[in-house]
């Protein structure tokens, strides 16, 4: 017995050591997992069991200046589905035929939204009641599919003020990446343009949340916590619904009038109405326009292509702030004021207009639009008759005076830079100068030098000068309000839940060109002359309010002339400034000016009758 026991002694020791090593290594590993890195595993366990979905907040309404709704919400039935539905192809096919959404569209919608695993995916918004009740009755046949209450934007005025209001849509990947809305998730509806975009944060409200505990199948076991959403705030705009409607009507009438006069390429244009003192935008029209409701629940590819093809003239663009035009003769008011302010001319300065101006030498001669010439021309007559010859001389004076006084003055009037309106997409326009020309032609050294002709061209609003309709209206507002450039804005106030204004937009002064009262009076008298005896007379015959305005007819390479009119009124105590531009509309005095009169008729409560007149000036 002893012999075999002695034999086995070492072997038992080996067996014992093997057992010890096994248990020991398990214990060491457990120490590492449970004690050293227990925290990260605990976090993983929490991640396993807790799911959070956000509860959408009602989007704020957008009201006009008198509190009338421009955009509201309408409760609708939306069909939603869990992501897992996509695994059942027969179910997806059935669903597709019931709600009328193609199978691949459903699959696409179910496979996106990676951020929120539990959140149901919206398949179709605004389904008819009978579809909703069919799905509710047959809910057993459609597991994971639900009909939920949702809300979509409603536009009581149809396309009214579409460019100012903007449209909404699902947040884009780039918007998400930009992280402008920190708690935004894929699938959220956000403002894409206009006020919907610029005041998105106010309109959005705060999302609520619901935190669940789920099991391994993702089934909800308990609701752990819940936070109710806070509805977005209503906002009140400076836009007056009635004036806006008239401005849009006037613009389309002006385009029709252009066609009547033979300018059949006229399809686009813009009209802006400002309060001269506050910069409040009372109306802002852009043609062609679009119906923002096509974006509800996701715009179709066909509609999107339609809105973006070249022949459509890009109806999504708000031309009032996104397009820049040669201001043509409407700029002569600015040049005149610049001349007076810099004392290069006086109210009594006169020039001879022989029809063909040779101030820079015979080989560089330039025609006045009136080839027979205006004879001796005073400032008053030069504005009233839109005499190019007079302003060629003023331009030459600016060139000879050296420096860039004309450009500097144009800039203090708010041109050549964004005015900072509370709408996205505003462009800065252009006030050309020596540095700009050099940079612009950096590959063409022979064109880099600033020539006298550049200043002369600019002084009749042609050449490389570009302004937006908003800038033009703002410049005339400055002439009308006694010389202050104020920031244009469309927001009147953010409203508290009880409807009172919680945040009101205040007047922001951008610059003060320090216009002398005498010079303003001189110019006003000349601008009133335009509508009483000058190039705009035909459009304002019988209009009871005195209007200080200027016609413009811009030459654009390869296109018909653009028709412009800018004004402020009443001339004696200005309240409103208006700019109207019709692309390829022909003459400002006969196409744009009647539109301005039509808008002012509404503003001042005057009866309006369609005007057909003629204008041959530029």
């Amino acid at each position: 017995m002893t012999t075999f026991r002695q034999l086995l002694k070492g072997r038992f020791a080996v067996l014992g050591v093997v057992v010890l090593v096994m248990l020991g290594s398990l214990a060491v590993r457990l120490w590492g997992m449970q004690v050293l890195s227990g925290g990260s595993f605990a976090a993983a366990a929490e991640d396993n069991r807790i799911r959070e979905v956000s509860l959408p907040a009602a989007r704020g309404r957008i009201l006009d200046v008198k509190g009338r709704p421009l955009v509201t919400n309408r409760p609708v039935m939306a069909v939603t589905a869990q992501a897992t539905v996509s695994e059942d192809t027969t179910l997806v096919a059935q669903l597709a035929s019931v709600i009328g959404v193609p199978v691949d569209e459903i699959t696409k919608r179910l496979s996106s939204y990676k951020a929120e695993r539990l959140a149901p995916r919206i398949l179709k918004v605004d389904v008819p009641m009978q579809t909703a009740s069919f799905l509710a009755e047959h809910s057993a046949d459609f597991p994971g599919v639900a009909v939920e209450e949702s809300a979509v934007r409603v536009y009581p005025g149809g396309s009214l003020a579409a460019h100012v209001l903007g449209y909404t849509g699902e947040i884009s990947e780039t918007q998400l990446a930009a992280n402008a809305l920190p708690d935004a998730r894929i699938g959220d509806v956000v403002g894409k343009s206009g006020v919907e975009s610029s005041y998105d944060k106010v309109l959005q409200g705060e999302k609520g949340f619901r935190r669940f505990e789920v099991d391994n199948q993702g089934r909800v076991r308990t609701v752990l916590a819940e936070g109710a959403p806070r509805a977005g705030k209503d906002i009140r705009l400076t836009i007056n619904k009635d004036v806006q409607a008239v401005a849009e009507k006037a613009l389309s009438d002006a385009i029709a009038e252009a066609h009547r006069q033979g300018f059949t390429n006229a399809h686009a244009g813009s009209a802006v109405v400002l309060d001269v003192k506050t910069g409040a935008v009372i109306a802002m029209a852009s043609a062609p326009t679009y119906d923002p409701s096509v974006f509800l629940g996701g715009i179709s590819d066909a509609d999107w292509a339609m809105l973006n093809k070249k022949s459509s003239e890009y109806p999504l663009n708000n031309r009032a702030i996104m397009a820049a035009y040669a201001p043509a003769s409407t700029f002569k008011a600015i040049v005149a004021m610049a001349g007076l302010q810099t004392r290069l001319i006086t109210p009594s300065t006169t020039f001879q207009c022989p029809g063909f101006w040779t101030g820079m030498g015979k080989q560089w001669g330039k025609w006045c639009w009136l080839h027979s010439g205006h004879g001796y021309v005073s400032l008053h007559k030069a504005i009233g008759q839109s005499c190019d010859g007079y302003f060629y001389n003023v331009g030459k004076k600016f060139y000879d005076a050296k420096g860039e006084k004309l450009q500097d003055f144009a800039r203090t009037m708010g041109l050549g830079a964004k005015l900072g309106i509370d709408l996205s997409g505003e462009v800065s326009g252009r006030v050309p100068d020596i540095a700009w020309k050099k940079a612009y032609n950096k590959n063409y050294p022979e064109y880099q030098q600033w020539l006298p002709g550049d200043t002369v061209n600019m002084s009749i609003g042609q050449g490389d000068l570009l302004v937006t309709p908003l800038q033009l209206a703002s410049a005339y507002a400055t002439l009308g309000n006694g010389g202050t450039v104020v920031r244009p804005h469309v927001l009147s106030a953010v409203l508290a839940p009880d409807g009172s204004a919680s945040v009101e937009t205040s007047v922001t002064v951008i610059s003060d060109p320090k216009l002398s009262a005498t010079n303003l009076a001189t110019l006003r008298s000349a601008l009133v002359g335009v509508t009483t005896t000058g190039t705009g007379r035909g459009s304002f015959v019988g209009f009871p309010i005195s209007v200080a305005g200027k016609t413009g007819t811009a030459q654009v390479n390869g296109k018909d002339d653009y028709a412009l009119f800018a004004c402020y009124a009443p001339a004696a105590a200005p309240k409103y400034a208006i700019a109207v531009i019709v692309e390829q509309g022909g003459h400002g005095g006969s196409v744009a000016a009647p539109a301005a009169r039509q808008i002012m008729s509404k503003l001042f409560g005057v009866k309006y009758k369609t005007i057909h007149t003629t204008d041959v000036s530029r």
Binding site: M1, F4, R5, L7, L8, K9, R11, F12, V14, L15, G16, V18, V19, L20, M22, L23, S25, L26, A27, R29, L30, W31, M33, Q34, V35, S37, G38, G39, S40, F41, A42, A44, A45, E46, N48, R49, E213, V214, D215, N216, Q217, R221
Partner: protein
């Protein structure tokens, strides 16, 4: 003069073994209760486990009273019984297969037990009898071949079932017993080499057959077994499929921290994240609910159990008894290493339960019968005495 009762108890009862076994059985019962708490059929499962314990206690007493040396004489019949037991689930009218992996012996619709469990004990007894004949030294090729033949027959049969888990337990048992039985080191090397070559050949042949017969579910090795192995090598592979079990188990154990979430608590257990949480993955439940403290307590109990078994083995009056004890130690040690190891990613996932802890009455009865055998060896360490 009659021996004092204390002396009688000391002779027949190994205190360390009985205490550790009782503690493990109670611990296991509590864990099955805690693991099944939020499962449907919770009460029925707890009842069935308690029934298993009762039957196991009966088996323990029977084995204790039975003179283990009697078994030595029955090598032939026991070998036949072992073989029949292993193939019994394949006999029409007797077998039943649950979820493709666990095989049951059943008559009519009454499920009796999993034959692979008692087969482990029979395997130990048969192999102990064969090895004991060589007196603690196996070196002659003829002897080696005979022993290897006795070990290989049941091993091949169980692998053909196919029951890879029990097969691995057989290999572990044989290794431990051959160590104690005196197989020379170089023969271990030969076996290891042969085994490696065989396994390699099977894997190679499997992949050949899979592509040739176009059977992605596997021919010699089932696809799910392959997945478990590959997941062990690369845990990030297929996190929703085969890697899911491992990941969830590790999260459960790791999140237990030092003291755990508390008995019956723990979100991984409660919310079904741990798969097979009352059977193969019961250690994950323990780790989550009782933390490192509970896990170490369990390992300490296992250490006490196996140290007791080792002391019994060392004090056996004959080599046969020592070998049986060594076989039981090897069986438990391997199952503990494999089961706990797989829940923490140290071992590949196989369907091997955790002794005294996992839900399952056949398993419980087998382990308690093993305890009974150890007590039988201990009681008779001074010679065959009448009781």
């Amino acid at each position: 003069m009659r021996a004092p009762i204390t002396r009688m108890v000391r002779d027949r009862v190994h205190g360390g073994l009985v205490l550790s076994a009782v503690a493990l059985v109670v611990f296991g019962g509590v864990m099955v209760w805690a693991a099944t708490l939020t499962m449907t059929g919770h009460a029925a499962m707890v009842q069935r486990q308690i029934l298993g314990m009762a039957v196991g206690l009966l088996a323990l007493v029977v084995m204790w009273l039975l003179d283990y040396q009697v078994l030595k004489a029955w090598t032939g019949p026991l070998m036949v019984a072992l073989s029949l037991l292993i193939i019994s689930p394949r006999i029409p009218g007797l077998g039943a297969s649950v979820s493709g992996a666990t095989s049951w012996l059943q008559i009519g619709s009454i499920r009796l037990f999993q034959p692979s469990e008692p087969a482990k004990l029979l395997f130990i007894v048969v192999l102990a009898a064969v090895i004991a004949e060589y007196g603690g030294k196996i070196d002659l090729p003829r002897d080696v071949l005979k022993v290897a033949g006795f070990a290989a027959l049941p091993l091949v049969l169980i692998l053909l079932q196919p029951d890879l888990g029990t097969g691995l337990v057989f290999v572990a048992i044989a290794s431990g017993m051959l160590l104690v039985g005196g197989l020379k080191a170089r023969w271990f090397a030969v076996f290891a080499l042969t085994g490696t070559v065989l396994v390699g050949a099977i894997f190679g042949l499997n992949s050949l057959l899979v592509s040739a017969m176009n059977k992605p579910e596997g021919v010699l090795i089932k696809a799910y077994q392959m997945d478990r192995l590959l997941v062990f090598v690369d845990p990030t592979r297929d996190p929703k499929g085969a890697g899911y079990n491992l990941a969830q188990s590790k999260i459960a154990i790791g999140s237990g921290g030092l003291t755990g979430a508390g008995l019956g608590m723990g979100t991984q257990s409660r919310l079904n994240f741990i798969p097979e949480r009352h059977t193969d993955f019961i250690f994950s439940v323990l780790g989550e609910q009782l933390g490192f403290a509970g896990a170490v307590m369990l390992l300490a109990l296992y250490l006490a159990l196996m140290a007791s078994a080792l002391s019994i083995s060392a004090s056996s009056r004959d080599l046969f008894g020592a070998l049986v004890a060594a076989g039981l130690i090897s069986m438990w040690a391997f199952q503990i290493l494999e089961n706990v190891g797989m829940t923490i990613g140290m071992m590949p996932i196989t369907g091997i339960p955790l002794p005294f802890m996992s839900y399952g009455s056949s398993f419980m009865v087998t382990n308690l019968a093993g305890i009974g055998m150890l007590l039988s060896i201990w009681s008779r360490r001074y010679g065959t005495t009448t009781t």
